[in-house]
Amino acid sequence: MMRIECPWCGGRDETEFHYGGEAHIARPPDPDALSDEAWADYLFMRANPKGVHAERWMHAQGCRRWFNLLRHTVSHDIVAVYPMGAPRPEAPETAR
């Protein structure tokens, strides 16, 4: 049961949130211009790192806002929380 810092509501239990998968996957502006391969890449291919992962969460039982965070996929330490649309921050060195 992780504790996730909602940028608005503060720290809440994981069960209040919905996980939204990898962050920073922008919908292609002109899908028609894409090859089937490129479209499949957008649809299905995911970074799945063992380490720091940039991912989206939504505070479903709270303010219903989406946000991004950086989380280590082994320690589950959350090393940064940042708004949708903001670039991925540098991961602090301490992330295990």
Binding site: Y19, D36, A40, N48, T73
Partner: protein, 416 residues
Amino acid sequence: MARYSIFSLARNALTGHRDWPKLWRAPEPRPAYEVVIVGGGGHGLATAYYLAKEHGVTDVAVVERGWLAGGNIARNTTIIRSNYLWDESAAIYEHGLKLWEGLSRELNFNVMLRQRGVLNLAHTEHDVRESIRRVNANRLNGVDAEWVDAEGVKAFCPPISISPKVRYPVLGATLQRRGGVARHDAVAWGYARGADARGVDILQHCEVTGIRRVAGRVTGVETSRGFIGAKKVALVAAGHSSMLAEMAGLRLPVESHPLQAMVSEPLKPVLDCVVMSNAVHVYISQSDKGELVLGAGIDAFNSYGQRGGLHVLEDQLAALMQLFPSFSRARLLRSWGGIVDVCPDASPIVSKTPVEGLYINCGWGTGGFKATPSSGWTFAHTIARDEPHPLNAPFALDRFTSGALIDEHGAAAVAH
């Protein structure tokens, strides 16, 4: 390979069991092999076994980063069935079930297959419709399948509650009598022993850290025990598949999630079959040691942590209380997690890759234990012949581009 039997046991008992040979050797890595299989789980070991046995390819190493068979093969709830909805799935899982049925003798290692029957419960009209759809499809595909109503469920599984008063009453179930459970570790050990006896080198504590390529062709793997050359490299690393694919510059449509399971303290036999429920989300069987073995769905987030949150287990147990109120006083003995690799369509990938000499077998997600024999069997074929067997041809990587997904989410109930 020393044959195992009651006679060899008795003979060894007389000598204080001092003369049993090792189950497998602990060789030093050779500089190169024809095939290097990355991942010493059930699927990797089965692949090695069938490469040697079916295709005569014995210049093979299985490279395992930790202790042999310590990944998902060591931590699954051991449910075996083949009653999948789509033709492609039914074919590959049914092939597996047939292999299971002869496996103990094939390997001369008792994998303790218990075909006690698997019930997939239906709790809503929607479940009923989809269950019957699957039963009909299974029958046409030659997979044994029955639809049983609530009384039939009760007759087959006496401890279950079919009270209509609960929140999601049992309306009926699909039943595959040939489904059941097996001893998870034994399967891996049996394949390892069989592969070793045929000359396969099993290299434990040997982590692959890189995949070497020259001009679009694999030439070998970097490992924690040095470089190992290989004409062919086969990745069978379950939860860690993305990491390995990345070493070869490949992206996969796979995400790794924790999947938890748990056991109760051992109880005298009360539950003789496997019961699975998608709607209230729990599945359960009782092992031959007496523990109730339970699991349910994944923790939502990506993780390699081999653990999840207690709330997932609490929800499963609340669901269990609807089905088996008498199990309330069974006590949780141990819970654990494994890392499963999940594809968007909940079906596996057993495929060649764009890199020559590189093969991948992954995406079995929450349900690949039952496929251990057929996964190894088809993958061995794919590696040896450099082309897929018809059974695994539909499970190729390119389906994500063409859109020919084999979506087992909707209709096939829980994917275990």
